[in-house]
Subunit: 212 residues, 2 copies
């Protein structure tokens, strides 16, 4: 029987190197390709015979979400499992939307990863327990579609994060203070926070504002 040909895309060299050795020890697995760069992966995608890709999310140049989407456009039958450090709410929904068949946290052990790879290779899906919990939480907590932020709201979040008061924001956008306050309240509802402090942490966590 043929080995499952695996590609590993992860910018953490130490982790990727180790993972390669771990997977090659497993009967029936073979790491055919590995790279630190989503861009290289897309370029060589047609030149290497792989069945499965283990994809990190946070990478420079092209992140895992973009790389997953583009790879599946080129090779729709490729099976991709997301491998992420954080059980980050915003990221995994984007990854699932991009078309991953599974999601495994890096803190998993090799048996869990092995099971995930076998399951997905046989046509199934595999999502870590933590991810499933988060998903269940999401659906009870905030039904995502209705809670999307509008353009104006995102604009105002940025200004709030810059430390501006509602009055200052109203001046900047040439609108009334009351309008700004209305947006503020609506944002609080959508973000499920109760004050500016909570909002800013939420905004940074969900990448509506970037520090540094």
């Amino acid at each position: 029987m043929m080995d499952i040909q695996i590609a590993v895309i992860d910018d953490h060299d130490l982790f990727r190197e180790g993972l390669k050795l771990v997977l090659n020890q497993v009967e029936g697995f073979h790491v055919a390709y590995d790279t630190s760069n989503g861009y290289h992966f897309l370029e060589t995608l047609n030149n290497i015979p792989i069945d499965m890709a283990l994809m990190d999310i946070e990478m420079p140049v092209i992140n895992g979400i973009q790389a997953t989407g583009k790879a599946l456009q080129v090779k729709p039958d490729l099976k991709i499992i997301a491998l992420s450090m954080f059980s980050d709410t915003s990221h995994y929904t984007q990854m699932i939307h991009a078309g991953v068949r599974g999601f495994v946290l890096k803190k998993a052990n090799k048996f869990e990863l092995e099971q995930a790879i076998r399951t997905v290779h046989q046509g199934g899906n595999y999502f870590s327990q933590e991810i499933l919990k988060k998903l269940a939480f999401r659906y009870t907590d905030q039904p995502s579609d209705r809670d999307q932020l509008t353009g104006r709201e995102i604009e105002i979040i940025a200004l709030i994060c810059q430390g501006l008061t509602s009055y200052e924001i109203s001046g900047q956008l040439h609108i009334s203070v009351k309008t700004v306050e209305t947006h503020r309240s609506n944002i609080f509802l959508k973000a499920n926070v109760k004050n500016t402090a909570g909002l800013i942490v939420w905004a940074i966590k969900n990448q509506y504002y970037t520090v540094q």
Copy 2:
């Protein structure tokens, strides 16, 4: 020549497994012990002949800071290198204080880790470039002794970042609301911000509070 006997303490199974294989491939290195648990490490410390420990910081039960301190009490000649995912300011200062000889980020490659292990084994210190930059940044950005935050202030920053109001913080710390407000004002002066929004961004930027 004897191999360098290495212990790996890290609760991320996949990473630890991989790291073990990577290090065992290196000429002169041998992973003599590995565990996911700082507690186990301390218990078996006297029964295993090791020269060097690679210690994760964030672990359940006993974290890397506590494990490092206690291990060096028992075995002062043990050389410990911190291995961390984040370039977390608050953590690495505590780790250095606990007595680590080096600090390597998990996103490093195996050559950097190899160099770190050899350097520390020969009696030197090794700190990743990112860590040194952070240290330098700290000293250039806020050199004045007067602007150092006190313990109480750092404590309150964390609570503010969690979205608590001054009243809630006063209850949590069993002090008056007025005291909390005084601390708040003093923090604003030191951070050079004018409201909570600015403070939180500043706190995250300077790693007094960590998102994710």
